[in-house]
Amino acid sequence: MFENKIIERLDKMLDSAMNGTFVESDYDETRLSRLESKWKEFLGSSVLSNKNLEAERHRLEQFISDISHQTKTPMTNIKMYTELLCEEIAQLKDSSPDREKAAYERISKYADEIKRQDQRLEFLIASLTKLSRLESGTLEVVAKTSLLTELTDSAIAAVRPKADIKKISISVTGCDKDMTASFDMKWTLEALVNVLDNAVKYSPPGGKIEIDITSTEMYVAIHVCDEGAGISEEDAAKIFGRFYRSNEVQQEEGVGIGLYLAREILSKEDGYIKVVTNEQRSGGEFILYLRK
């Protein structure tokens, strides 16, 4: 009987601790009262360490904002001076004797390379900033019922210029005008553009990209199929990792963060992304599953 009472009291102490409402009941010379004080002390220190974690997270976010903000000016300057360099060299090259032309040609190549690397750096910093905000929860993914056509149309519009340069056609099948799923438009667009961007990048010139929409009981699936080399079984497990770049694509532009970001975004809205390996079909295929 006596034991039951104590167990019950302890059970209540735990319950109130779990929902954060624990207060000491009474102060007397019993061992139970001493235990309560000790329990309160323990809870206090764990609340404190949670607060410290929260503060730490906030500092980290601030730090990342600083990096992203403070690097903007020097990067813009690099870009501007490189542009100037390119222009002046072009003028000098035209008005100089032949024997100097080769030297100017070389310098202009260096300038082009600086420009390319600057773009890459800009893209990398932008991606990392997005990623860290997403992971730290500063930017929330809010899923709500949204139109699929709006998503696919905007995504295609975003990659159209690059696709046009390579004469790649993009078509959508299986999508009704009023088809919906539960997703965050802005972030999911980011994810789909990343996948489409890869499809354009690794497609042969003049190729076709097909976006096929299918539906299961729980999900709407967006299949992105291209005529590129696809992903091998071996790479399938790794491509969604941070900064992973397959050996075959080391020559291509990119920093290896797009698919990781896509996976993070989808999982935050209760969806997921998977790859169909090139053992199972010719060409590449990614499938984005969005919750209905």
Binding site: T216, Y219, A236, A237, Y272, V276, T277
Partner: protein
Amino acid sequence: MSILIAENLKKHYGEGETLVKALDDVSLSVERGEFVSIIGTSGSGKSTLLHMLGGLDTPTSGKVVIDDKDISELKGDALCIFRRRKIGFIFQSFNLVPSITVYDNIVLPLQLDGRKADKDHIANVIETLGIAEKLKTLPSKLSGGQQQRVAIARALASKPAIILADEPTGNLDTKTSMDVLGLLKTTGRKFEQTIVMITHNDEIAQMADRTIHIEDGHIV
């Protein structure tokens, strides 16, 4: 922090000429919150391994540690209770109790344990798995995919230390399989659950964060 550790697990049947090594010196560890798939052909020893990890069978030698507890130290009732509290099972054949409703199936392990159901948690699980409208139905009225979703809810309801899934989509068609796996993956992540899943299918294994290959009783 490892939630599951298996050390030098061996399971041998018979002896001498007829000795069969179903598991031969298998060691692995699974981190808290990880989704791991164990892939192997039939007869590779993967089901034997899962049975050892879940305390459904005892190894010839070696040990299994779950949530800092060496389960070989547990005998009889203690092992039973440990399993009920710490491990959620999902089977190929769903194993729902046919005579009680979907909701009662989901909270059954909690009731057996004499614990109060965490209503908010369970409502959240039910919502995420999309079975809110089926709660008063008997399992036999549900499709295979829906039954397996109920089984996932049952495994999640008691917030176990680890969920063991044995070919969870073995009885389902491809489309339904992707539904069930997608939900297993998203709920695992959402509710910070550790999942170990057995499969013979590469495409299904791909859904996990990490894949362990097993062949002839060895990890390869």
